[in-house]
């Protein structure tokens, strides 16, 4: 059974999606538990396959037993394992958040919802593991279709945001498809490994360059890299908190991973770095995005809109890591995927919990919360410190590797950009922390004394906050075993 593991991860999620949907129709409470069970089962399978990959090397699964260029394959190397672990792990923690505050929907109607969440995770896992350019497109569309529905749960404004996202995501998907078409008509294959072999012969062909440009543009649209970020703030502000957490924590990172994968395993370094300035363009627009999005985040008063702009800035860090195109930069970028999903996941859950529990939307509402909700604000502080990049957290280590990568490539501008952006991060996160620890000056407000969040909401937040510290402590283990072996191939 062990050789079927790569296929079983998405398939188990899909099967649990069906079971959660069908049984949820009969007894609505079941669907939530089944969804958590499915996500945890997928996480277990990911852990098993990670152990197997670490012991025996890259796994490859040929669907229908057709050899790769002819059939579809799933490739599972250590980097894929890392991404699958992040997706299923973060997903199962986020699903533990209760339905009503998390998804803003009645529990009676939640069966469809949990089916879609599991399908969303299955789509992301498929995207990560696909070893075939077109198969990736199919999973990309599954994950975006589910997101449109999930974002729109938030009500009228969320529907408009979701529609905007639909237009942008469809343009992104279409660009990707067109790019795949150009690559296919230039080399005659859509298997990633096969394209990697065949591509050097036609590197100077305009259709390969144009196709690569279209593919990268499409993926940048999906990952909300700076000039294409316009859909993200609205959808993250109006979507239900858990959906916003999913979107910020895993959904926009997976296209970034795909770009890394394309850089490493499809278009080689020669093409992306030397022949065409694609990585340079990514690096520069990311650098611009980091600064501009951070400044925009400072200007926001709504807590969740601020987090959304912060997501744009953080995704640009990942883009910067890819754009540096050296092993340390890639390590920093990929490790930042994990750090960011832990931090942004917990921050969005806190935002959702505070809104549901206290009705707080704006940063002014945080005043005096530090005393009354020590655990929540503690988790918020840890996540905020991670965002700024203070040492024991995971956020520090990813930025550290990004800095090393920038120094390695001799681009001091990026070093300056990262230092300035850390300062900007500090400005907008310390503002909140300061507000939270400022005691209320009038006694009238203390009558409707908000107490600590209920345990059901607090548990996933605290798990994620602990995860930030644990990932920071284990950074060397994770990077040496999972990320470095692949990134060194550059």
């Amino acid at each position: 059974m062990i050789e079927h593991l790569p296929a079983l991860i998405p398939i188990s999620l899909i099967l649990f999606a069906f079971i959660a949907g069908i049984l949820g129709m009969m007894k609505y409470r079941l669907s939530r538990y089944l969804a958590i069970l499915g996500a945890v089962a997928a996480f277990g399978l990911s852990v098993t396959s990670t152990i197997h990959v670490l012991q025996t090397g890259t796994m490859s699964y040929h669907f229908g037993n057709w050899p790769p260029p002819y059939g579809i394959e799933f490739v599972m190397d250590t980097l894929t394992c890392f991404m699958v672990l992040v997706i299923t792990g973060i997903g199962s923690i986020l699903l533990m958040f209760p339905t009503k505050p998390g998804f803003m929907i009645d529990e009676q109607k939640s069966a469809t919802l949990y089916t879609l969440v599991l399908l969303f995770m299955a789509g992301l896992c498929g995207m990560v593991m696909a070893g075939d350019l077109f198969n990736l497109y199919v999973f990309l569309e599954i994950s975006s279709l589910t997101t449109f529905a999930l974002v729109s749960i938030g009500g009228g404004k969320a529907s408009v945001a979701s529609f905007r996202y639909l237009i942008m995501a469809s343009i992104g998907g279409c660009f990707y498809l067109l790019g795949v078409g150009f690559i296919y008509f230039s080399v005659g294959s859509i298997n990633m490994a096969d394209v990697f072999q065949l591509l050097p012969a036609v590197y100077d062909s305009p259709s390969v360059i144009g196709g690569a440009f279209l593919i990268i543009t499409g993926l940048c649209l999906k990952m909300a890299l700076f000039p294409f970020h316009t859909w993200l703030p609205d959808s993250d502000t109006y979507a239900p908190p858990v959906v916003a957490a999913f979107s910020a924590a895993v959904q926009i990172e997976v296209p970034a991973y795909v770009i890394t994968r394309l850089l490493l395993n499809v278009f080689s370094q020669d093409f992306m770095v030397t022949l065409t300035p694609i990585t340079d363009i990514i690096a520069w627009i990311s650098a611009a995005g980091i600064i501009i999005a951070s400044i925009l985040a400072i200007a926001q008063n709504n807590f969740r809109r601020m987090l959304a702009y912060s997501s744009v800035a953080q995704v640009a860090y990942i883009g910067l890591g890819i754009g540096l195109a050296n092993p340390l930069g890639i390590v920093g970028g990929i490790f930042h995927i994990m750090a960011h999903s832990l931090m942004k996941g917990s921050l969005f859950l806190i935002a959702g919990g505070l809104h549901h529990h206290n009705g707080i939307w704006n940063i002014q509402g945080f005043q005096g919360l530090g005393r009354r909700m020590p655990w929540t604000i503690g988790a918020l502080t840890i996540a905020a410190l991670g965002m700024i990049g203070i040492p024991p957290t995971a956020g520090f280590f990813s930025k550290w590797y990004l800095l090393l990568g920038s120094i390695d490539s001799g681009k001091w501008v990026f070093v300056a950009v990262m230092l300035i952006s850390s300062l900007l991060n500090a400005v907008y996160f310390f503002r909140i922390i300061e507000k939270a620890f400022t005691p209320l000056n009038n006694q009238a407000a203390s009558s409707d004394n908000p107490r600590e969040l209920p345990g059901k909401m607090l548990a996933p937040i605290l798990i994620l906050a602990t995860g930030i510290l644990v990932a920071g402590a284990l950074n060397v283990v994770i990077i040496n075993n999972l990320i470095m072996p692949v990134a060194e191939g550059l």
């Binding site: 077109f134 569309e141 009228g156 639909l166 469809s170 343009i171 279409c174 078409g181 296919y184 859509i190």
Partner: protein, 121 residues
């Protein structure tokens, strides 16, 4: 690497793509955006089908009288990809229509400017 004159069919497809993109980005009515999206996607299908053609070929259904020589039949892979892409396009349109219904129920308009005004921005 042929002359641009031989690529006139691609030029037609590019015109369609541009019309679709303009519909999505330039138009203010949400239904027109969806129409633009559909034009864009259809142009992509045409692009793939165009690339799968072979002069003197026939549809990729094997005729025992003709044998299994690769040059006789069109390239089947673009057709397969396009079947998938068509389904994706239909699915996206369906979801978009559902979203438009909710938007219309909330704001009783499908003009982007009026919706933004009613959203209070």
């Amino acid at each position: 690497m042929g002359d641009i004159a031989f690529h006139y069919s691609y030029i037609m497809i590019i015109i369609l793509l541009v019309i679709g993109l303009y519909g999505m980005l330039g138009k203010r009515n949400l239904i027109k955006k969806i129409i633009g999206l559909n034009i864009f996607q259809t142009a992509i299908f045409l692009f793939f089908i165009e690339g799968g053609l072979k002069d003197g070929g026939t549809v990729p259904v094997i005729d025992p009288a003709l044998g299994t020589e690769a040059a006789i039949y069109f390239n089947p892979l673009p057709h397969v990809m396009i079947l998938t892409a068509i389904v994706v396009s239909v699915a996206t349109t369906g979801v978009a229509m559902a979203l438009l219904l909710t938007i219309y129920r909330n704001y009783t308009s499908l003009e982007e400017d009026i919706i933004l005004e009613r959203m209070g921005k």
